[in-house]
């Protein structure tokens, strides 16, 4: 986003293309800056996380910072917007301080672009969690995933997707129990007086032939008010994003703002790695003014998969750590006060 002069641009490009490639912060081409992640930061949300990339260790300044929070809402299917089986709606908003140079209109456009990338990938029906359904055909959960960009020091998409994945991983769906009422014919015959036997008999015949008697699920209840609930179904499947910054003849990862401004083309790839299956490419995007061809993209995808797997594994490990920290360890600390 940073606007830089042609001279600066040429300087950055030539250093990247030199042998060995040189980056301003001394990283290799495929090295990431430090990534920090914390989940459960918004207690009122059903799941939340904060991700920062390249934050200065001394003062906590600089770097890209993104917060994602998931909130569940009950929707009725049929008369409202609700979709049977639930839905996921994502939105990205940018704090004006993250992009101080942009006009409000330009900021809106940017938010919209980011939202469309995130929404197209995450709200796809194929990865919709099964347990967003409350009552089939009647009630379902609407999962609102809101991502806020607090500051952008480059590589914003990777940060957004990481925060989104962590927040969704952290999301717990309150357990629900469906309740129903069905008039039971057989039950009633015991209660009625013996005098209307004939009436009763016809009623019995009627109910035996009546195949239309469907289960009328009317409403749901929360069996345990104190319980946070269960994690989203298939939470492993939420993808990570990897941005390949393309400078003809080479690509590099985790670009800073100056580097981003110096490359003509970026390739975003969204991968998920389920333990037992082959890696799944959930989508890809080319951003920028440059051009590319299929052969190049093909080879880039292969590289991208490799890098994405590393990001995935690191994230997976950290998320499990977070779960541990927030539950078991917190309890232990409480007991050993």
């Amino acid at each position: 986003m940073a606007s830089i002069s042609k001279a600066e641009k040429a300087y950055v490009q030539s250093s990247l293309l030199s042998n060995p490639p040189l980056r301003a912060d001394g990283r290799g081409l495929i090295d990431f800056r430090t990534i920090a992640l914390e989940s459960g930061i918004a207690p009122i949300a059903n799941g939340s996380a904060r991700v920062s990339i390249g934050t200065n260790a001394q003062d906590g300044g600089g770097g890209t910072e993104v917060v994602a929070a998931a909130k569940l809402e009950v929707e009725s299917v049929g008369d409202g917007e609700g979709v049977d089986g639930g839905r996921v709606v994502c939105s990205v908003s940018c704090s004006p301080t993250a992009y101080p140079l942009l006009s409000p209109n330009a900021l809106d456009d940017l938010q919209h672009d980011m939202t469309s990338v995130l929404n197209a990938t995450l709200s796809h029906p194929t990865i919709r969690p099964k347990n967003l359904c409350i009552l089939p055909g009647r009630k379902s959960w609407l999962l609102n995933l809101d991502v806020i960009v607090f500051s952008d020091a480059g590589n914003i998409f990777d940060a957004i997707f990481m925060a989104a994945r962590a927040a969704l991983w952290d999301t717990k769906v309150p357990r629900t129990k469906s309740v129903q009422y069905r008039a039971k014919k057989s039950d009633r015959s015991d209660a009625t007086q013996a005098m209307d036997m004939d009436v009763d008999e016809t009623a019995h015949v009627g109910s035996a032939l009546d195949t239309r008697q469907t289960i009328e699920v009317a409403d749901f209840e929360l069996p345990d008010y104190w319980d946070e609930g269960e994690p989203l179904n298939g939470r492993q499947a939420w993808p990570v994003c990897l941005t390949l910054n393309l400078l003809p003849a080479l690509h590099f990862l985790d670009a800073t703002l100056q580097e981003e401004a110096s490359v003509p083309l970026k390739l975003l790839v969204f991968y998920s790695f389920l333990s037992d299956a082959t890696p799944l490419l959930r989508g890809m995007r080319l951003l920028g003014t440059g051009v590319s061809d299929l052969v190049q993209v093909n080879s880039l995808l292969k590289d991208g998969e490799k890098y994405a797997r590393n990001v995935w594994l690191a994230l997976e490990g950290k998320l499990k750590d977070e779960d541990l920290r927030r539950n078991q360890k917190a309890r232990e600390r409480f007991l050993n006060r």
Binding site: I44, E73, V74
Partner: protein, 995 residues
């Protein structure tokens, strides 16, 4: 000053510091709620002289605890589990139950979650002085706070919290009682966990926490005899395994789970409403539901399915072809179930017998019925809310096993509630023989599907049946009238001068005189019923120089003494109104206000709230103003006295002229009201003559006399109320307190119209209140002057009752008062005895800019909530008053029977049954039932029955509704229940003793 510190916690501790839960709203949304929790180390244990806790902390528990229990000689405190409060509240509240109690916060919260009424009783318990109760906030003390484990149910978590607190307490007491050198080493007192939860006891045993079940605990107490009776049946499961529970057959269907009920009601397949038992037929009840115009009928025990009068139930409605009509026969529980034995009523054989009996009683009825009379019929499938409370009962003496009539053994007996709407209650007691013949208070604990009757326990005895004290208290209890004396906090709200309080001398600097009009020179007088002590209204009228008349109504300025959000105000709001019994008045406000400071006595200066009109001679209002004032009434008249004064041509003083002026205006006002379509309704009102104030033995009953001056006062009060209603509604359109009377649905009159048409050929036009008033005027029987009054009484019963409401809560077009034919109405004129009037006073004072309106009266919710209470209390107060009159009528009749040998009175037939007549004795204001032993020829269509003539050979005599008959009235003591009841038999046209 304690130092307040706030601990700022890092977010990592969220699991501990935040309590999270979900809430499902009424609209179906799920909300996540977070509560912060700050743990502290300075929450005191409440034990006297504890050296570990902060010495300045308040303490309640004695240092050595209670040493009288035989299991705990070193002293103990009890720490009851939630189930103890849920099931055994009567035990804890008993005067004999004295051990010091520690109530945990966890327990308080659980009780609140499970039952609000029990929670408020528990709250009351913590503030009484007699009991030593300490509330320990265990969730906030850092040592006793716990965090819910993964996969732990809320119940287990709370149990663990309670055990943890008990454990901590025991350890804490050890520290607080260190061995002192040179003295024998005394063991510290114990904190004993009391619970009826077996699993919890087991776990506590494992953790070495002293614990015991309720029954075992009470067994070891020094006055266990009295206390064991108070144990509720719920807790006694495990100690009475003798009965083969599994072997019993279920008499009732199980209730559906609550969530299913709510879902069904929401989907419209089930219906929710209040259960109303039929007082003539114990096997029938109705549930009014919004979905049908007629209430849903429940026929038979199985379909009523353990619902008790007042419960909020959910009913399932049957197919239309199974609909039935209500019975027209009287089925008396006592008669039908006379031989049912309390001990053995579970036995199979007996069961069948009763069942046959009952179903025969029912079947006889429902076979032949006109289809038009059928109404929705259904059965109860679940209970939303039980409205069980303590009921006044008698012990059924026949249910006592004769062999142990003098022993003190535990036995099962029946208690028959005084109210005919309630089923018999089975209870176990050791004191049965001593309770016979007494009025006692019994609480229902549960009603199992295998048990025909609900099970309950004995609470306390009220005294000998038919003694005035017992009857009076039972009346108050039965109608839930709060009758405790006013507490200290309430009396502290009164002016400190007490009886010596006077209006201070006039001066601008004195707050009492701020913005008050000085009306001390006006010729004001009050007119009230004889013996009235709380005079809340006074009147005046005088001619103005322009030819118009100034008339004023002056109401005691109660809101000057009763300020919002004081103890006195909330007590008055809870009482709602003063209750008048024949020989006792239960005040809403302390007597100092009611009978002195706010009573507009003659010849003393009093603060008042005045409504002053300027009227033309034809009673057209030219102007009205409202003002706070100071008045000095010149005289206090009784109705009769004022009437005499007005009619005495020799008197011509200013006071008399004032009364005459008022009277002429009142007559014109009344004429206008009648022209607008106001109803002239009648209700049986009788007056009880008491012998003397001490003995209060009723001597005689007479109907209340009505003077012209009654109507004088009434007209001006109506006018004042209407004027005030217009003013407050204009100023506070959202929250003004008003009173309305909805027009009755025409279906209510169907039966009366039909009877009048068929029996007398008279038509009743119910299209509007005016039309009804006109047609009521035409309901005349030249031979029978009382007939008109009777029709009016019956018409009144078809109407809805008037109610208070908040103007913002209902739509504008339903504000009207049907009976008074007034578009808007409120109650302003009796603030001493009605709480609604106090609120209206406050609103009017704000409307005229005298004081700002208290914020609570701006809240629609708040006003609605108060209106609900006030409406209920108002209804209960009326019923209690009527019941009191009834009791005294009974006493008077008993006296007359002794003197005159036989009492006969004229009566009108108001209802016909297959086996009896409902009659109304207008002279006594008494309604009664004449029962025939055998069936008669009953014509439901024409409301007649034919009974064989007493003279052999004569044709049958036909009796129909509205016929005048003569009845013999006796008061007989029911053999089983010791309940005195009026028994009527027909004398003419037929002597029914032969039938």
């Amino acid at each position: 000053m304690p130092e307040i510190t706030i601990l700022k916690r890092p977010r990592e501790e969220a699991v501990i510091t935040q309590r999270m839960f979900f809430k499902k709203t009424a609209r179906g949304k799920v909300i996540k709620v977070l509560r912060e929790r700050y743990l502290r180390d300075d929450i005191s244990c409440g034990v006297d002289g504890c050296r570990v806790c902060d010495a300045s902390a308040q303490t309640v528990l004695s240092r050595s605890g209670d040493t009288t229990h035989k299991n705990f000689p070193t002293g103990h405190y009890i720490l009851p589990d939630t189930n103890v409060f849920l099931a055994q509240m009567d035990l804890i509240e008993s005067n004999y139950f004295t051990p010091p109690i520690i109530i945990l916060q966890t327990v308080m919260e659980e009780v609140r979650h499970r039952s609000l009424p029990l929670y408020s009783r528990l709250k009351a318990l913590t503030t009484t002085d007699e009991l030593k109760v300490w509330v320990f906030y265990n969730e906030f003390r850092s040592e006793t706070a716990i965090v819910r484990e993964n996969d732990e149910t809320p119940n287990d978590r709370n149990d663990r919290g309670i055990r943890k607190a008990a454990e901590w307490y025991n350890a804490h007491l050890k520290l607080a009682h260190p061995p002192i050198r040179g003295q024998p080493n005394l063991a510290p007192p114990k904190v004993v966990l009391i619970t009826d939860d077996f699993a919890n006891r087991q776990k506590a045993d494992k953790e070495k926490i002293p614990c015991i079940s309720v029954r075992n605990y009470v067994d070891g107490m020094k006055n266990s005899d009295q206390l064991l009776d108070l144990l509720s049946a719920t807790g006694s499961d495990e100690v009475e395994p003798t009965r083969a529970v599994a072997g019993r057959t279920a008499l009732y269907a199980d209730y559906l789970p609550m969530s299913t009920l709510l879902a069904g009601v929401k989907a419209g397949q089930l219906h929710q409403g209040h259960f109303n038992a039929n007082q003539y037929n114990y096997l029938e009840g109705t549930v009014p539901v919004p979905a049908f115009t007629k209430p849903v009928l429940l026929v038979g025990r199985e379909n009523m399915n353990r619902a008790v009068q007042g419960d909020v139930v959910v009913v399932e409605v049957f197919d239309e072809r199974e609909w039935k009509a209500p019975t027209d026969e009287v089925i008396d529980q006592e008669a039908t179930l006379k031989n049912d034995d309390a001990e053995d009523s579970e036995e199979e054989g007996d069961d069948l017998m009763v069942h046959e009996h009952e179903s025969k009683a029912l079947r006889a009825e429902h076979t032949k019925k006109a289809p038009t009379e059928k109404q929705p019929t259904g059965r109860v499938v679940g209970i939303i809310k039980r409205n069980w409370r303590a009921y006044v009962c008698h012990i059924d003496s026949t249910s006592l096993t004769s062999s142990n009539a003098t022993s003190l053994g535990l036995q099962t007996v029946f208690a028959t509630p005084v109210s005919r709407l309630l089923p018999r209650i089975r209870l176990r007691t050791r004191q049965a023989p001593s309770l016979v013949g007494n009025k006692i208070l019994v609480t229902i604990d549960r009603w199992e599907i295998t048990s025909r009757y609900p099970e309950g326990h004995f609470v306390r005895t009220l005294g000998k049946a038919e003694s005035k004290e017992a009857e009076q208290e039972s009346l108050l209890l039965e109608f839930e009238v709060p009758y405790r004396p006013f507490g200290k906090a309430i009396l502290d709200c009164l002016p400190p001068e007490g009886e010596q309080w006077v209006v201070p001398p006039k001066s601008a600097a004195i707050p009492e005189w701020r913005d008050r009009t000085d009306l001390r020179d006006l010729i004001i007088c009050s007119i009230d019923p004889p013996g009235c002590q709380d005079i809340d209204d006074a009147l005046h009228a005088r001619r103005l120089t322009n030819g118009n008349i100034e008339a004023g109504v002056h109401i005691a300025d109660v809101s000057h003494f009763v300020h919002p959000e004081t103890a006195m105000d909330s007590e008055a709001a809870a009482r709602g109104s003063t209750v008048y019994l024949v020989d006792k008045r239960i005040d809403m406000l302390p007597a100092l206000l009611g009978t002195n400071l706010c009573s507009l006595r003659p010849h003393v200066e009093r603060l008042a709230f005045s409504v002053i009109w300027e009227m033309t001679v034809d009673a057209e209002i030219v102007d009205v103003r409202f003002t706070k004032s100071v008045i000095a009434s010149k005289a206090a008249f009784e109705y009769g006295e004022a009437q005499l004064r007005k009619d005495d041509p020799n008197l011509n003083d200013k006071l008399t002229q004032s009364i005459r002026l008022l009277n002429s205006l009142a007559q014109k006002l009344k004429a206008k009201r009648m022209a607008a379509g106001a109803l002239n309704l009648a209700s049986p009102e009788v007056k009880i003559h008491l012998d003397s104030s001490e003995s209060s033995d009723p001597v005689d009953v007479e109907q209340k006399a009505l003077h012209e001056t009654n109507s004088l006062v009434e007209e001006f009060m109506l006018l004042a109320n209407t004027s005030v209603a217009e003013k407050t509604q204009g100023s506070f359109p959202q929250t003004s307190v008003l009173r309305r009377h909805l027009p009755p649905p025409p279906t209510n009159f169907e039966k009366l119209q039909d009877i009048l048409q068929k029996r007398k050929g008279l038509k009743l036009d119910v299209s509007s209140s005016g039309a009804l008033a006109d047609s009521l005027d035409k309901c005349l029987d030249p031979k029978e002057p009382a007939f008109n009054t009777l029709v009016r009484i019956m018409a009144t019963r078809c109407m809805l009752s008037a109610e208070y409401f908040s103007s913002g809560s209902v739509s504008r077009d339903t504000f009207g008062h049907y009976g008074l034919a007034s578009p808007i109405y409120t109650h302003f004129t009796s603030p001493i005895r009605r709480y609604a009037d106090v609120l209206v006073h406050r609103q009017l004072a704000a409307a005229i800019g005298y004081t700002p309106l208290h914020p609570s009266l701006h809240s629609k919710m708040h006003v609605e909530r108060i209106m609900e209470v006030v409406n209920r209390r108002h209804r209960m107060a009326q019923m209690a008053g009527r019941a009191s009159v009834e009791f005294y009528v009974g006493l008077a009749l008993k006296g007359r029977n002794e003197r005159e040998k036989e009492v006969t009175e004229d009566a009108f037939v108001i209802r016909t049954f297959r086996n009896g007549l409902g009659v109304f004795v207008s002279k006594l204001g008494l309604e009664g039932l004449v029962m025939f032993k055998r069936d008669t020829q009953f014509d439901a269509e024409n409301y007649t029955i034919s009974v064989p003539s007493s003279d052999i050979g004569q044709p049958d005599v036909t009796i129909s509704v509205f016929d005048k008959v003569t009845v013999r009235i006796e008061v007989e003591k029911d053999k089983n229940t010791q309940r005195g009841r009026v028994k009527m038999t027909l004398v003419s046209p037929v002597d029914s003793r032969a039938l």
